[in-house]
Symmetry: C2
Subunit: 141 residues, 2 copies
DNA sequence: GTAAAGGCGACCAATCTGGTCCGATATTAG
DNA sequence: CTAATATCGGACCAGATTGGTCGCCTTTAC
């Protein structure tokens, strides 16, 4: 008997990095004002990849979402209000600007009216989706 | 000089198949009541892969979205009102049920409250997204 | 009967992602 | 001052997923 292999869909999915970032951010949100969490601690607490977690947090740090303190007792803490941190922003930082249906490069039909006639309304769809991601803040999570 | 390589993001993207399907469906929508379009015609008209297009349409046909007629003068036509065909349905047919952040298998933390505390609200996000996809019909496109 | 169309399964290749290793740098405890 | 611990950043490799192709078969119009 084959064991329940759900066809894991790749499309329309958050990247692992974004996933991890949200987990970490949410943990940081629960911290006291003076406290901080190290990447190592976050990784071990949530089962995140040990070597990938610092990378993710570094990106968040240089984007200004979290504040990193070096040194022996260092770690990360939120740099902004949880209300101001949106899922859309996190995704954009870690995976870039998502496009539902990017124009395929070097395709002749990209100039065709009939085709871009479709791609434009798809843009509406995308805009709606981004709206959803924009409205979902860390505080709402 | 490296030529403008925008980091095409894979995540949060429609699959190519869904993309093609929407293009094809939209073309079928513009058809007269008795007319039909062959996969070949659709492919050449929109620059879709010739061998992949029939496959996509076949899936749509067996899902009941389009009606296929065999034979020399065969082709496809819409089998339902454009108003009743949603993007969500198309995606589900071609790529399966999308999950924003599927639980990683075999992870110990899946039982942890802190973790699934996050995944549940992510479910809300997903539900909102699916709502958007559900509301966007072929007629709206 | 022949040509053109869809139906279906298997297979291969390119791409993307995720994960790891490596080192360098900065800061704090003692 | 020194050592330990933290962040930072690049390069690299392997696995997974997607997408595209080839093949053969059935059905229908002429």
């Amino acid at each position: 008997m084959v064991a329940f292999t759900r066809p894991t869909v790749q499309m329309l999915r958050l990247s692992r990095k974004s996933d991890y970032a949200l987990v970490a951010l949410k943990a940081l949100r629960a911290l006291g004002p003076g406290d901080a969490l190290s990447a190592r601690e976050l990784a071990s607490r949530f089962g995140l990849p040990v070597d990938l977690t610092p990378k993710v947090l570094a990106r968040l740090a240089q984007a200004g979402l979290v504040q990193a303190t070096l040194g022996k007792t260092g770690g990360y803490r939120l740099a902004r209000d949880a209300e101001s941190i949106t899922v859309a922003e996190v995704v954009r930082i870690l995976d870039g600007d998502p496009e539902l249906a990017p124009c395929r490069e070097g395709i002749l039909e990209c100039n065709r009216i009939a085709d871009c006639d479709l791609r434009h309304p798809l843009g509406n769809l995308q805009r709606e989706m981004m709206n959803v991601l924009d409205r979902m803040t860390l505080a709402n999570l």
